[in-house]
Symmetry: C2
């Protein structure tokens, strides 16, 4: 087990992360939307860092920066993404990219680095990693638009200087696996006093649209007794979910009503229609099935009231299991370097690793988020935790390479 007395350069890693933060800096965080000027500047800067690390970088036709190492031996692909949510944190994505480059520098061999494009979904769901595994058709690129300002994706690619560039594809057999480090984005490590999370699976997201149909009418002249208020029916259903779900949910299940719209949504009109987006996340398909069944039962109960409710399943994902050998390597390295300071845990958020997991063994390592905050400029992680995570990742990759 002494194969991995490899050591990363903590100050160098931190200096690079702080430099990367300058691209689109916003308060203590970053505003670096996909294909924006700071995003493309940062991708070029990342390509330069890859080159310095002895890799050969290309920025491909979707904006992925892929740095390939020399030689033909066994190798791992390490990476994450570099763009951010709007006015968001400095480590979400950036941490995993700089870990990958630092591990490449520390090991000197056996590592390729990927900096994926648009994991944050400004234009599409994981277009960078999907492109790399061959699951992003040209037709989808042609039709995609920025979800905030409507800019067509082809226009954004052209403005970023990426039009016509080839898109990098995974070479079959090249990699032993994929590893991605990321901030936890929750407070589970922090509240348990732990510093490292070895990801067991990336939870599945099940999305539903619930549509309520009542009767639109005048808010002054329609007696309470005869109203069919779609907004009230919706509110009752949201409260019923809150009341009944804890009994069927798993210990880490989460559920969210993120959007509510009333039709027509005017002060003096009883809403005749209403709609809500509802989402479940869990890593256990049996728990997800149980929660969906309870949701259907709640909808059936609601349909005994004055309004009609329909439940439409928009998407039902599959939990992505992380590779056991990679989990073991991460756990052993963590236990060696920081005994008793790690745990296994699922990821509640989606990551590019769930796409890479479709074509190779994949694993993820989490470091704590202070206060559980992410997708906000105040997002942060203690510097000692940042350095520790990279050290554990380097040791695990060294072990994995030595074992192959």
């Amino acid at each position: 087990m002494s194969l991995s007395n490899i050591s990363i350069d903590g100050p160098r890693l931190l200096a690079d992360l702080h430099r990367l933060r300058q691209f689109g800096i916003h308060k203590t965080g970053v505003h670096r939307p996909t294909y924006s000027e700071p995003d493309m500047q940062s991708r070029n800067w990342i390509a330069d860092r890859m080159r310095e690390a002895g890799l050969t970088p290309v920025i491909d036709g979707i904006g992925n920066v892929i740095g390939r190492g020399p030689g033909d031996g066994p190798r791992f692909l390490l990476g994450s993404h570099s763009e951010t949510q709007n006015h968001a944190g400095w480590l979400d994505g950036a941490l995993g990219v700089m870990y990958a480059i630092e591990v490449a520098r520390a090991l000197g061999h056996g590592v390729d680095v990927a900096c994926w494009a648009d994991e944050e979904g400004h234009y599409a769901a994981f277009p960078g990693s999907r492109s790399f595994i061959g699951e992003l058709p040209d037709t989808e690129i042609a039709a995609a638009r920025n979800r905030y300002d409507g800019t067509p994706l082809p226009d954004a690619l052209a403005a970023a200087g990426l039009a016509g560039k080839p898109r990098a594809r995974v070479e079959p057999g090249r990699y032993r696996g994929y590893l991605e480090a990321h901030i936890e984005q929750g407070d589970d490590l922090e509240r348990r006093g732990l510093r490292l999370g070895i990801v067991t699976s990336i939870v599945a997201i099940w999305q539903f649209r619930l549509t309520f149909t009542g009767i639109q009418n005048h808010a002054g002249t329609t007696r309470m007794a005869i109203r069919k208020d779609a907004g009230l029916a919706l509110a009752k259903l949201v409260v019923e979910i809150d009341r009944r779900f804890p009994a069927v949910a798993g210990p880490r299940s989460v559920w969210t009503t993120g959007r509510i719209t009333l039709d027509p949504g005017a002060a003096s009109i009883i809403p005749g229609g209403a709609e809500m987006l509802f989402q479940l996340r869990d890593s256990d398909p049996a728990v997800l099935e149980r929660m969906q069944a309870e949701l259907a039962a709640i909808v059936a109960d609601s349909n005994r009231g004055p309004c009609e409710v329909t439940l439409h399943a928009m998407s039902r994902g599959v939990p992505k299991l992380m590779d056991e050998a990679i989990q073991n390597a991460l756990a052993q390295a963590a236990e060696r370097i920081a005994p008793g300071q790690s745990q296994h845990m699922p990821s509640g958020a989606g990551h590019d690793a769930q796409l890479l997991a479709k074509v190779m063994p994949a694993g993820m390592l989490f470091v704590p988020s202070i206060g559980g905050i992410s997708h906000h400029w105040s997002e942060d992680t203690a510097e000692a935790d940042i350095v520790l995570g990279c050290q554990v990742m380097a040791a695990a990759v060294a072990d994995l390479l030595a074992a192959t």
Copy 2:
């Protein structure tokens, strides 16, 4: 009591109402927004009908059509509005305007007719009748915009050919009172098998904005136990109102949550903010006070939960009592012409009569709405009820004129 053996011409009234429906006809209803081409065509057509009835019409600088009768004797002002809500009914407003003209024709004296502009509030709250009573400042006109498409009111007035025209003002002492006929817009007359409603008061509307502040966070990584979900807090409060208000409300009180917004309103983000518009209506100030106190108590209870809730009173109107002598004249005429088929009742909707009531005695007469439907193209009233209402109004006005 035989003073009022005056008789209106039912077929003529119905023919005029059907002709007026042609301006902006939509299915069996009408789409005639304020200052639109069909609205201005209809106002010119109405002015022509006034002229035929022996009145002298002017279309004033806010779009009111005011038809003044000859002579100096005692007189009443009769009227309503002619524009419609978008894709709405053919009688809401139009009925009262054509009743006024028909009564002027039937009586031949003692009647001026008003066709108010924008009672439906495309640009402002009752700008036509407020202009007439001197409560619409030029500064408000300059700042007002169409609530659907943002067109500035001065631009709309210019496009309608009204720019620079003087605005008609009520002449002090000219009128003994104001009468307005209108469809009920509710189902109270219908379900009681009645045909005429003598309005006792126009209910007050109290509007509130409730703002919920939680913490915006990631819908996948934030445990249920630590969430501060502003949308859930809102839903619980809406349901609590539904549960607790019946105990404090009056028999005709109504309350409505017409608009709900979540911030940011995305499927994968726990709402950090939420807002709702909530409205109470009743004709009894004591009942309104009781309902507001209960709302404040519900808000206080909600503030013991994870989110902060603030209650802001946007407006608290005063119920407008209709004049007793006018109510009596309407009730006696109704009893004479259609015995046992009328009732006294408040108006749950606002009407121009509540503005005129500030400067002269005012009254209103309701006819039934089939199925209680209004603000929808399917709005309708039985032709026999339309004719009966006008006959009763003519008789009441004749009696009132004879009594002065």
